[in-house]
């Protein structure tokens, strides 16, 4: 197990290296000078452009630039961004915290609502509750998240001022964006859970367990839930990774200062240090989450061997 983890972490380094190399090459073949203009379409004074190119080593050949990047990264330094000229780590740190807060809250909502709804729908198949849950999840899946976000905002910020419009860091300002992000995923989790549970409930070993006279609760939690939850864990793992990459539309609607918006803006401004920082972080998160999901499989299903 320990060996397996070390090997996977080794793979992560390789993936990160590959990703940053590709990213570097992409960024530097883009048309336009990353330090060539000001906030708008105003050209920068050529003397200042030259100074900035020197300061940020943009005149060096690409391999040299990459070498410097790796050297600095090893010391935890991602350089300075091109517009405000502040350290990238200082710029990204609060955004990462914000994004993580939002992602964790959304995932908790997913798990609670999604699993409960799926469970109820599967156990009381074709009942009123099952039909209602199926109907609601179908609707939720059909709505794009920006519609949900705007409706929630209009209703609970503008019309009924229950929540602040501009985030003030309080738990209150977290609720609406977290729900906006969670609704779609929770619906998918509920449907996934219902489907796999119905399959498992029909399995021979469940019938055997019931025939053996095991209490219903034991059957449900030890056998049924544990086996039904594997695909859900996979889905939630991927979903959580996506959330940690930032949620552009939700962030824009609720003015949530997260990674998604930062990346889009950085791409528009060709603010390369920010792009590289965010993407490297995203790759690392995905690789780590994959590892965690694989480890969870082994815990949930002893037949899965990590080797």
């Amino acid at each position: 197990m320990g060996r397996y983890v070390i090997r996977r972490l080794g793979q992560m380094v390789v993936v990160l290296f590959g990703a940053t190399v590709v990213l570097f090459c992409c960024l530097f073949v883009l048309p336009g000078d990353p330090v060539g203009s000001l906030g708008g379409d105003k050209a920068r004074d050529p003397a200042v452009v030259e100074q900035l190119r020197e300061r940020y080593g943009l005149n060096d050949p690409l391999p040299v630039q990459y070498g410097n990047f790796v050297k600095n990264l090893a010391q935890g330094d991602l350089g300075e961004d091109f517009t405000q000229r502040r350290p990238v780590t200082e710029i990204l740190q609060p955004k990462l915290v914000n994004t993580a807060e939002l992602a964790i809250t959304a995932i908790v909502i997913d798990i609670v609502i999604g699993l409960l709804a799926g469970l109820v729908a599967a156990l009381f198949r074709y009942s009123f509750w099952d039909v209602l849950i199926t109907l609601l999840t179908t609707m939720a899946v059909g709505f794009p998240s920006f519609v949900i976000g705007m409706v929630l905002q209009k209703a609970f910020v503008v019309e009924l001022p229950w929540f602040p419009l501009i985030s003030d860091g309080s738990f209150n300002s977290l609720i609406l964006p977290a729900f906006t992000l969670a609704i779609l995923d929770a619906a998918l989790v509920a449907r996934l859970m219902r489907g796999t549970m119905l399959e498992v409930l029909r399995a021979d070993y469940v019938k055997t367990a019931i025939a053996k006279g095991l209490p219903r609760r034991t059957v449900l939690f030890k056998h049924v839930m544990r086996n039904s939850i594997i695909p859900v864990v996979t889905y939630l793992g991927i979903s959580f990774g996506t959330l940690l990459g930032g949620a552009l539309i939700t962030e824009a609607i609720f003015n949530w200062d997260g990674i998604g918006l930062a990346l889009v803006q950085a791409v528009q401004q060709q603010n390369n240090p920010i792009i590289i920082g965010v993407v490297s972080f995203g790759v690392a998160v995905f690789v780590l989450l994959n590892l965690i999901v694989d480890l969870l499989y082994a815990v949930l299903d002893p037949r899965i061997r990590l080797a």
Binding site: D41, Q84, P164, L165, D257, Q268
Partner: protein, 546 residues
């Protein structure tokens, strides 16, 4: 220019506050209650330290924190702040400013001639790599300082505590108007170098407001009244600028206003009409015409537009009225001159004769003369994601309908758009806008239409300046130089008028489209005297509780 690049020019940007003397169209000072917190939204500025404050969002804060020699009213008049007088020499190369004695920075340091020298030197120093230092390029010794050859600004002398002498490298009888820009602020000794992070995030100034806590990046900037302000003090106790994301800024401002969380707001363009209907009757809607222009840049040196006739054909073919009514719902006004109406002494309505009214017959006639045949491919570039899509499509359609041109719309993100415009081989049209930094005709004409404004890089042929349409006429260049060196105001204005007629009418070097009108919602139930200043920002220093 303050980056009039996005739909900002429709919806507006936010900058700041002038200090407490009346500014704007001859309004009377109204003294209201002191106190209150004024809340509005901005997007994250590049900088709020005058050393690099550049777009409206940064300038609004810098102007609240610092007071310079002069301020500018909306109609381009100079309002003295710390200057008691500004006197040019007879040759227009030396300016002497007398400075008000006895005012202080909020840390107690005196504001004297030396602090102006310090501030301007800090901006132009090589190490600062300031994006706005070019405003000082005409001061003697700028090159040496900016290239790092010297660490002194040769053209600046603090003669005594209250006398600042500025020597220029060329005669300029309007230099005084430049000093209204926030880049010309004085700074205290503690400012240190341009990259002093502590000062960058919490500047110590001499303005009507001060900061008691540093800039919370991407969250908010809070200003409090400076009770020791040496001029007329502000009424507001506090100003809270919440930082909004640019992707959704105007929507958030509008919603914030509706839910009572902002006292001042821009609106998304599609909502302007309904917002006006709702808020205008309640006296919560303000509008103003500002010193800016939206125009078509036309690549003068490459076919098909390398002759004035072809360029005039395009201008005559555009129905500005129809687009102003349709796309802009009557909220933008067609422009018939390059200079804005707010520059009353030089404004000539109708100077661009091809702009006054769409004229299909003339458009066709000029197209014929200029060799602009139906089916000619015309590239029409614009920057994406800034709300221009709708109107550029309307213009393109008119060019197709009237002249039968094959117009290729080409939307690009900023940096890429800029690279394309700078390229020597680029042809066709490009959307462009410009807002004034200070109220001088020169601030439009030199960067946008003069040969020096092209700034061609000999190595790559790139246009590094702002005149990317590459209009170039030696006669026009000479008029500008002569005008700058003309002492008499009326004679100077006449020269600028002549220059504008030559560039915008005779040669049609650019094609004016719309004036710059701005709209805001203001909480007039709670506050008095909320107006927009020359920089399209709320007049923070004059606002008071009702």
């Amino acid at each position: 220019m303050r980056g009039a690049t996005s739909a900002k020019w429709v919806v507006g940007a936010v900058i700041v506050a002038m200090s407490a003397t009346a500014c704007g169209g001859g309004d009377t000072k109204a003294d209201g209650e002191s106190g209150g917190t004024f809340r509005f939204g901005i997007t994250e500025p590049t900088a709020i330290d005058p050393v690099n404050a550049q777009e409206s969002e940064g300038i609004v804060i810098a102007r609240a924190l610092f007071t310079g020699l002069y301020d500018t009213s909306n109609d381009g008049k100079l309002i003295p702040k710390l200057a008691e007088s500004g006197t040019p020499s007879d040759d227009g190369k030396t300016w002497t400013f007398k400075i008000k004695a006895g005012t202080k920075f909020t840390n107690g340091e005196p504001v004297d001639a030396e602090s102006f020298v310090r501030g301007w030197t800090r901006v132009s120093a090589k190490a600062s790599a300031s994006d706005v230092s070019y405003h000082m390029a005409d001061i003697a010794g700028y090159e040496d300082l900016h290239s790092g050859k010297s660490d002194k600004f040769a053209g600046l002398t603090a003669v005594d505590a209250t006398t600042l002498k500025v020597e220029l490298s060329i005669p300029d009888f309007e230099f005084v108007k430049k000093t209204a820009h926030s880049v010309f602020s004085p700074v205290p000794k503690v400012a240190g170098a341009g990259d002093n992070k502590a000062f960058n995030d919490q500047p110590i100034g001499n303005g009507a407001f001060k900061m008691t806590s540093p800039w919370q990046h991407n969250t908010s900037i809070t200003l409090v009244r400076n009770d020791d302000y040496g001029l007329e003090k502000a009424h507001l106790a506090k100003v809270e600028a919440k930082i909004l994301n640019p992707a959704n800024g105007s929507t958030l401002e509008y919603q914030g206003f509706q839910s009572g969380q902002f006292d001042y707001a821009r609106m998304p363009t599609p909502q302007l009409t309904s917002a006006k209907a709702k808020y205008d009757p309640q006296g919560e809607w303000i509008s103003g015409d500002f010193s800016g222009i939206n125009y078509l840049n036309i690549f003068n040196q490459n076919a098909p537009f390398n002759n004035p006739d072809a360029r005039k054909a395009i201008s005559y073919a555009i129905d500005r009225e129809a687009i102003a009514k349709g796309v802009f719902q009557g909220l933008q006004k067609p422009a018939s001159a390059f200079l804005p109406p707010s520059f009353a002494d030089v404004y000539q309505a109708g100077v661009c004769s091809s702009c006054v009214k769409q004229d299909v017959a003339k458009a066709k006639e000029f197209a014929e003369k200029g060799g602009l045949k139906p089916g000619t491919v015309v590239n029409f570039g614009y920057n994406t994601g800034a709300g221009h899509e709708e109107w550029v499509q309307a213009v393109a359609q008119q060019l197709k309908d009237v002249l039968g041109l094959d117009v290729k719309l080409d939307g690009k993100p900023f940096k890429e758009a800029l690279a394309t415009q700078q390229d020597k081989a680029t042809s066709g049209l490009w959307r462009q806008a410009w807002t004034a930094d200070y109220p001088t005709a020169d601030n439009f004409m030199t960067p946008l239409l003069s040969t020096t404004g092209i700034g061609e890089d000999p190595a790559t042929g790139k246009a590094q300046g702002d005149n990317r349409g590459r209009y170039s006429n030696p006669e026009f260049d000479k008029l500008l130089v002569t005008a700058k060196a003309t002492k008499d105001d009326a004679a100077r204005a006449a020269l600028y008028k002549q220059a504008e007629k030559l560039a915008v009418d005779t040669d049609q070097g650019v094609i004016p489209l719309w004036q710059r009108t701005q709209y805001r919602l203001v909480n007039s139930k709670k506050f008095k005297n909320i107006k927009m200043d020359f920089y399209e920002d709320p007049t923070l220093a004059e606002i008071s509780l009702k």
